[in-house]
Symmetry: D2
Subunit: 340 residues, 4 copies
Amino acid sequence: MISVSIVGASGYTGGELLKILRRHPDVRVKHVTTSSSPGKRLEEVHPQLRKDFDLSLESFDAKRLARDTDVAFFALPHGVGSKNIAEFLATGKKVVDLSADFRLRDVKTYEAWYKVKHASPKLLKEAVYGLPELFRPRIPGARLVANPGCYATTTILALAPLLKNGVIDPASIIVDAKSGVSGAGKKLDLMYHFPECAENFQAYAVNKHRHMPEIEQTLKDVSGRTVALTFVPHLVPMTRGILACAYAKLRKKTDVSRIRALFEKEYGGERFIRLLPEGRWPQTKDVSYTNYVDINAAVDERNGRVIVLAALDNLVKGASGQAVQNMNLMFGLDEAAGLV
Amino acid sequence: MISVSIVGASGYTGGELLKILRRHPDVRVKHVTTSSSPGKRLEEVHPQLRKDFDLSLESFDAKRLARDTDVAFFALPHGVGSKNIAEFLATGKKVVDLSADFRLRDVKTYEAWYKVKHASPKLLKEAVYGLPELFRPRIPGARLVANPGCYATTTILALAPLLKNGVIDPASIIVDAKSGVSGAGKKLDLMYHFPECAENFQAYAVNKHRHMPEIEQTLKDVSGRTVALTFVPHLVPMTRGILACAYAKLRKKTDVSRIRALFEKEYGGERFIRLLPEGRWPQTKDVSYTNYVDINAAVDERNGRVIVLAALDNLVKGASGQAVQNMNLMFGLDEAAGLV
Amino acid sequence: MISVSIVGASGYTGGELLKILRRHPDVRVKHVTTSSSPGKRLEEVHPQLRKDFDLSLESFDAKRLARDTDVAFFALPHGVGSKNIAEFLATGKKVVDLSADFRLRDVKTYEAWYKVKHASPKLLKEAVYGLPELFRPRIPGARLVANPGCYATTTILALAPLLKNGVIDPASIIVDAKSGVSGAGKKLDLMYHFPECAENFQAYAVNKHRHMPEIEQTLKDVSGRTVALTFVPHLVPMTRGILACAYAKLRKKTDVSRIRALFEKEYGGERFIRLLPEGRWPQTKDVSYTNYVDINAAVDERNGRVIVLAALDNLVKGASGQAVQNMNLMFGLDEAAGLV
Amino acid sequence: MISVSIVGASGYTGGELLKILRRHPDVRVKHVTTSSSPGKRLEEVHPQLRKDFDLSLESFDAKRLARDTDVAFFALPHGVGSKNIAEFLATGKKVVDLSADFRLRDVKTYEAWYKVKHASPKLLKEAVYGLPELFRPRIPGARLVANPGCYATTTILALAPLLKNGVIDPASIIVDAKSGVSGAGKKLDLMYHFPECAENFQAYAVNKHRHMPEIEQTLKDVSGRTVALTFVPHLVPMTRGILACAYAKLRKKTDVSRIRALFEKEYGGERFIRLLPEGRWPQTKDVSYTNYVDINAAVDERNGRVIVLAALDNLVKGASGQAVQNMNLMFGLDEAAGLV
C-alpha cells in the first residue's frame, strides 16, 4: 500500500486525481491540502466525492505530510508550489508535480514564458519529464517527476515517431490544437462564463501558448533535431478533451501505410496508445474519462504533407491519469493500476 | 416589392432564409415548397415561424411558382434541384441556388467529387459565383447565382487578399476548419445524434471535403495562381458557426501591420467584413445570427508564416444571409437590406 | 424618431436591447452608460455589435442624457439604479426599468426579499408593471415602467387566464421553472463556470426565489385572489430560454378544450402569445431570439389537475424585448416595431 | 469469477455495462450479442472500449451463450427480448433484464402502455423488481431480475420514505422530471438531432410517460397506498443525468428536520444513497458516472407541502450500474463491486 497526499486538492486536476485514486487497489490517500479553504470537508469542494473519502482539507506542512506519505502529487498553478516541493523532497519523499514548474530545463526560458521567478531552480536538472511512452526508463528512479502539460502530451506523442525516424522536416510543423474548457482550470474568467463559452468556438494565445517551449524541448530530446513550431490553440465548448491536428512536410514521398508502420513500431506495445484503423479519426469522446491517446494519420500526396491527429482527455492522460501512471512506475506497480 | 419563393423550405437553410426574409422590407414570400411533406403548414415544419407567415408547403411546379415569383431560392441538397432550376429559369425568372450544383465550372470535377451526374451542365458556364466581396460586379446581371459553401466562404475570404497581392506561397496553404453541426443539415445520422456529438470534438473527411475544389477554383480566379490546399474540417459541439484557421508561408519577410494593411485595402469598404483590432481573435459567437465575417491575422516570424483566422455563421453569411445579399444585388436593393 | 439611452449597457440585457434597437425603424440610440468601463468603445464590451453602432460608453449623468434622450432603459442590477431613475425622471423624460426595483408596490416586501434599502420608494406607487398582455391600457401614460422579471412573465402569463376565470384553486399552485444561464447575468460565479454548468442540471433557491412576490402580487392584481405559490427554479445547461410548468387543482371537472378556450379568449388577439395546437409542447428553441411566448395546457383527469407549460426567451420577452414592447406602447408606436 | 454475457450490446446501456464490467474484479465478459451487426468487432460499435475487450459481436443463441455464461444482461428495447429471456432461463442460467418487459406485474397494463403483446407473460409473476434499496432481500434468490427504469428509480427513491411513513397524501403527488438525452437511447429521431436538441429545453409525453405505471405499482408495494401520479418529463440538453422534483401535500404540519430524519432512517445505511446537507441541492453532475443517488428535501410551510429532489446518472444507477448492483446481490458479491 502506497500512502499518497495531494497538495492543491481543490482544483480540477486535484479532484480528478482523487476520482482515479479511489479505484486504485494499491493506494491510500492520506492528506489533501488547500490554501484557500483549509478545514473544509473534501466533499464541500468536490461534491462528487461525497462518501468516497473521509477527508478534510488541510494547510500544507511538509513535515506533517511526510510523516505518513510516500508520494505527494502537487496540483497547483505554476509558480506557487516549487518552494514547497523542495521542502517536501528534503524529507526524503517523492513528488509528482502537475504544474509547469519543472518541465523546462532552462530557467530563463521558464521565467520568460511564465513571468515568474523560479523558487527552486536547482531541482530543474534532476526533474524527470514524465511522459512514460518516451521516457519510461528514467521514471522509476526519479524523486521528482514533472508531469507533462495536456497540449504537450498530445502534440509530442503525435509527432515524436515522425521526427525520431526523420521522415518530416522539423521546420515545417504546424499544430492546430483544440481543448475543452476544464483545461483552463477552476479560476473564474469571463472567457469561461457559460453564456460566453457555450455555442462558441475561438482561438486564443495564437502562436504564444506556454506549452510551446515544452513541446519543442521534448521533440528535440527525442529526435535530436531543433523544432520551431507554429501552434494555435482553440477553446471548444465542452468540458473535457483535447484534439490536436499536426501538419508537416514529408522529406520524401511516403505513403500512409509507411507512416502507420512507424507509429506501430514506436507505440505498438503501449498500453495507453491506440493507433486507430484507417479511416477512423480520433475524437475526444472516445478517450473521455480514460487514460488513452487515440492517434491516426493521413498523407496529403498532392502536397507531400502528413497530417497526424491525436486525442486525449486533458484531465486524465493530459494530467491526473498520467500522474498516476508515473506514480505506478516510480513505485514498481503495474503501470495501468487504477487507470482501467 | 420583390416576390420570392423558396424551393426546399423544410431544411435548415430554408428555415433561415424565412427568418431573414420576414424582416426584409422589400420582400414578400409567395411560395414555400417541399418534396417530403407538401400540404403541411409551414409552422409544422418550422415551429419558430408560427405567426410570422401564413403559408402552406407546396410541391414544386416551375410554372405555378413563376406566375408570381421574381426570384426563387433553391435550398436543396446537391444533385436534386438542377433540373428544376433549368425549368424555372426557362420561365424568365431568376434563381439563387444554395446547393453545390452550380459552383464548380468543370462538370467532371463536380461529378467526381459529388458522385452524381449533373442534370443541367449547360448552365454551369452562365452561373455566377455569388461571393459579393470578390465578385460583386457580376451579380446584378446574373440570372443564376451559385451561392458559395460555408467552408468555402470562410476560407476564400481569409486567403484572397494574401494570394491576390502575392504575399504567400500558393503551394504552402493549410486550412484547419471547424464547423457547428447545423452545417451538416437536418438529415439524421448517428454522427449528429446528441449523445454522440455533445461533449465531443472530431475531425472528418480529412483532406477530402467537397468544398476543396470550390475553394481552389475561386482562389485561382481571384489570384491567377493555382492553389492546392491541405484542408481538414472538424465538427464542433455547437449548432452554428465556422472558424477557419489558415496557415501559409510568406514569400518574404513581412510583419503583421503589412498583412493588416492588405486586408484593410481589400475589405475596408465592405459592410459585412470586420477586420478585428490586433490581439482580438475571431470567435463564432461574435458573428452568430449575423451576416458578418470577422477576420484577423498573426505572423509567425520565426517560421515566416502567416496565420489568418476567420469566423462566420454558417447559416447566415455561410448560406442564407449571403443568398439574400446576392438577391439584394440582383434586384438593385441596398446590399444589406434585411441583413442588419 | 425616438431618442433612446441605455443606462447599464455592458450587461446581457443591455446588449440585447442594442441588438433589438439596431433594427428598430423609429429609434436612435444616443447614449450608452456603464459604471465599470466608461470611455471604452461599445464594441470592446459587446464585440457582436461592432460596426452596428458608433458609440462609446459614458458615465451616467442624468442631465447630460436628458438633453437628447426621450426615454432611458435602465438595465442595472436591483438596488443600484433607483436613485438615478428618480433624477432622470425629474428632467421630464421617461424610463423603462429592467431591474426589480419598481415591480413590487410594497417597499417592505421589496426590502425583505432583495436585502437592500430602496432609494426611491415614493416612485413605487406611480410605476406601472409593464406586462402589456395584462396591463396594456396603463402603459401609454406611464412615466416609469417596471419591466417584469423573466420567471415572472412566464409564470404569470401561464396562470392568469385560469385564475381570472376562477377555474383553479389559488392555494394549489406549484410552478417548476427552468432557465438558461444568461438569466443569471454576466457576473462571474463558480455556479456558471462552464465546466460546472455544462452537462449539469440543478435546482436552486428552492421555494425562495425573488420573483415569487412579484408573481403573487400580479396574479392577485389580475384575479382578485390571494395566491401562495410553491416555486422551484432550475438551471439548464443552455444560454437562453425559460420553460415553466405550472400545476394546479381544477375547481371542478374541466376538459382540455375548455382550458384551451379560456387561453384563446384571453390571448387570441395577442401578437406575441402563441397558443400551440394540441399535443405540441412549448420548447425554448421555438421562441429563441423572438418576443414570443408559447403556451399549451393539458388536463390530468385522474387527479383533476391542469398542467400549463409556457416558454419564452429570457433575454427577449423575459427582458429586453418586453422593454421595447413597453417603449413602443409608451410612444404610440406599433407594439411590434423592432420585434419581428 | 462470474461469466457474463450481454444481449443487445450495441446500445448505450450495453456499452455502459461493458464500461462498468471492465473494472469489476469478479467478472469476465464472455459474449456480446447484437441483431444489427453480428460479426463486427466490439470496438467498431463502441470505439471507447478499444483495447479493453477482445470480443466480436454475435447473434443471440440461448444454448451457445448458456454454455459459458452464468448471467446474461438483456439490454434490448421493450418487446424484443422477452422470448429470448424465457429460452435463456430455461437453460438454468440467470437474467438481469434492463428493458421494461418484466417490471409490471399486470400483463394488461404492460400491453396497454407499451403497445406490444407480451411474449412471456408467465414469467411476470416470478420476476423480481431490482431496486435493491427497497427490495434487497428478494434479489439474491431471483432467476430473473427486472431492472427498474431510470425515471422510476429516481422518483420511487424520492417518494418511498414519505409514503411508507404516511407523511404525505398519496393523491397529491406531482413529479416534474428532467432527463439527459441518452435516456432516449441510440435510435435516431429529429428530436435528438444535435441542432434541435442543443440550446433547447422541452417537455414531452406530458402525463403520459410509460414509467408512470411502474412508479405507481412500486410505490403501492412499499406503502400499501394507491398512488395516482401527475408526471411531466422534460428533455435537458445534456447527455447524462436525471433530476426529479417531487411535490406532495403533508398530512400534518411537519418541518424539514423531521423529513430529513425519515430519509436518514430509511437510507442511512445505503451505500449508494447520499442525503445531502441542508441547503445543498442535488445536481446531475455530482452523480455523473457514479451509481449514487443524491437526495434532499425542503418544506414549503406556507402551503404544507414537501419538495423532494433526487438526482442520478440515468445510464448508471438508472440502468447499467443498478443492473450490476443486482448481479452482485444475485451472486453474493460485495454489492458495490465494480461500482466505485
